[in-house]
Symmetry: C2
Subunit: 293 residues, 2 copies
DNA sequence: GTTCCGCATGAATCGATAG
DNA sequence: ACTATCGATTCATGCGGAA
């Protein structure tokens, strides 16, 4: 390719292993994704077996590292699948290998799924949590902690209800810098910082798509690691949850999705939210390779 | 040693690397422990640095595997320390190495610490969860799921308060098997199985000694993996929480603790709970090596 | 006896300072 | 430069004393 280009507010249709190399270096502020788990979603992705998972993912994480800005963050939502009665080790092996690639494993956020998948087994209970690994390129990165402050007391329970009613689009469109801090001041000391455990219910919504993560999950990380106008990438977009979250928060999204039906579904959903933004995506900027400073 | 012997309802004073080899093969039903985290508790333990942690622990886990019954379980409570701005990898490396030893990594329970340590940093939030790795020797092991059933509705929130007030000593001394189910019948309420996420607050009360994990934590696993009279081992006993939990639930405990003050503290606490049992420990059985059936 | 408030106390982590 | 120590930050909990 002669030059690398990034379309924002756009969903690429294709394999991220082929699409990502067409992106410029250091062009996105945040990556949030939930890749297909080992052996899952066989219909849509090759159904990577657990023993091949690390090998399959490493070239992708290398590209992700290239396209992420130095101060950016990469949130990887993943969980060890049960393989033959044991938790698979591919996830922790992946973490070790990504560190060898130069990623810093900064944190492991715990997503507690309040309503987890039902079932009963003789040797385990229902799995109600997943990792959200936080990788960065540098020890110093952008983090806007005030944007996710929560009411004093029971963050776990109360946050969701308050959030899903008011906090979504409107509050974000005011003056941005120091937004959270100002709220904190207004309310006195009623607001505290959250912990690294997120309590969110999965969305039971669409039947055709496997239940992926709830809108609140990418929203939380987008608030935490980006400012308005920043670019959020999801290389395994699925039905477009990350894009929806970015749009609602006034950020730009970039999605990649292999399955055409998902691309179309996501585009329809996004169009319904903000038609104008989607139209703009046709005119997004290009970045010549090696010309960047 | 000519014969290997196990004292139950007894706390050994010494290094578990030396004590464990004096135990017979396959003599305990459950191991629950929270070893000193890398570089923590320097005063009482050697303060194993992160890079030596795996090497230090592996001989211990090998002995633990030897003394555990084939149908038994090993619960390892541990958390990755932040080392130089990154999460340390010694924990996940340990998991990989223990599998090479023959352990099966059956599950990773998540302990959500409702009251985590305070603090504010530019790159992370407060750490509010820890691993409780569940290792077994076989794919089929003993698990009494009914013993930890919880009332339908909000297990997370309600369980703790109810438990800590009544559920402790008295309820345990009735007939044990099918405990949860029977209660369900009595009360005519809906009981469900829990998930693999435990919501428990740490105990801040004890002043002299670091609070380690709350009594509820070992109690939950002891209910889940043992029956009355079974033997529970904690090779890093600390102030005796695991022993207290075992005693309250009518199980036998075996503790090992390096620090003499902890041994004495634990013995005082246990004596206060049930003097007769402790006295009995002087007459516990011995098991000649190779003579067991 | 309740309820309410103040206070000490953590298996923490970072950044600055000192050796 | 690299390591060891110390101060600052922060909040859920359970206690004791007070209303």
């Amino acid at each position: 390719m002669s030059e690398q280009r990034l379309r924002t507010n756009f969903i690429y249709h294709g394999d991220c292993r082929e699409i990502l190399p067409t992106f410029p270096d250091e062009c996105v502020d945040l990556i949030v994704t939930s890749p297909p788990y080992a052996d899952r979603r066989k219909n849509t992705y090759g159904g990577v077996p657990p023993e091949k998972y690390v090998e399959w993912f490493l070239p992708i994480s290398a590209e992700l590292k290239r396209v992420l800005k130095p101060t950016g963050s990469f949130i990887l939502n993943i969980k060890e699948r049960v393989v033959n009665g044991e938790r698979g080790t591919y996830v922790i092996e992946l973490v070790l290998e990504m560190r060898k690639q130069g990623w810093l494993w900064t944190e492991d956020y715990c997503w507690h799924k309040k309503n987890c998948y039902p079932g009963k087994w003789p040797n385990r209970f229902r799995d109600a949590w997943e990792h959200c690994y936080h990788f960065t390129k540098q020890k110093v990165f952008k983090m806007y902690q005030e944007a996710v402050m929560v009411p004093m007391g029971d963050w776990a329970e109360k946050r969701l209800k308050k959030l899903s009613q008011t906090d979504l689009v409107r509050d974000e469109s005011r003056s941005k810098s120091g937004f959270g801090k100002r709220v904190a001041n207004w309310l006195g000391r009623e607001w505290v910082y959250p912990t690294n455990v997120l309590h969110l219910a999965t969305e039971v919504s669409n039947k055709n798509h496997s239940a992926v993560f709830p809108l609140e999950l990418p929203m939380w990380f987008i608030r935490l690691f980006t400012q308005e106008g920043d670019i959020v990438l999801d290389p395994f977009m699925g039905s477009g949850t990350t894009a929806r979250a970015a749009l609602k928060l006034g950020r730009q999204y970039v999605g990649i999705e292999l399955c055409k039906e998902y691309v179309e579904l996501a585009n329809r959903t996004l169009q319904a939210i903000q038609p104008s933004l989607i139209a703009e995506s046709q005119t997004s900027y290009t970045v010549p390779k090696r010309k960047r400073k």
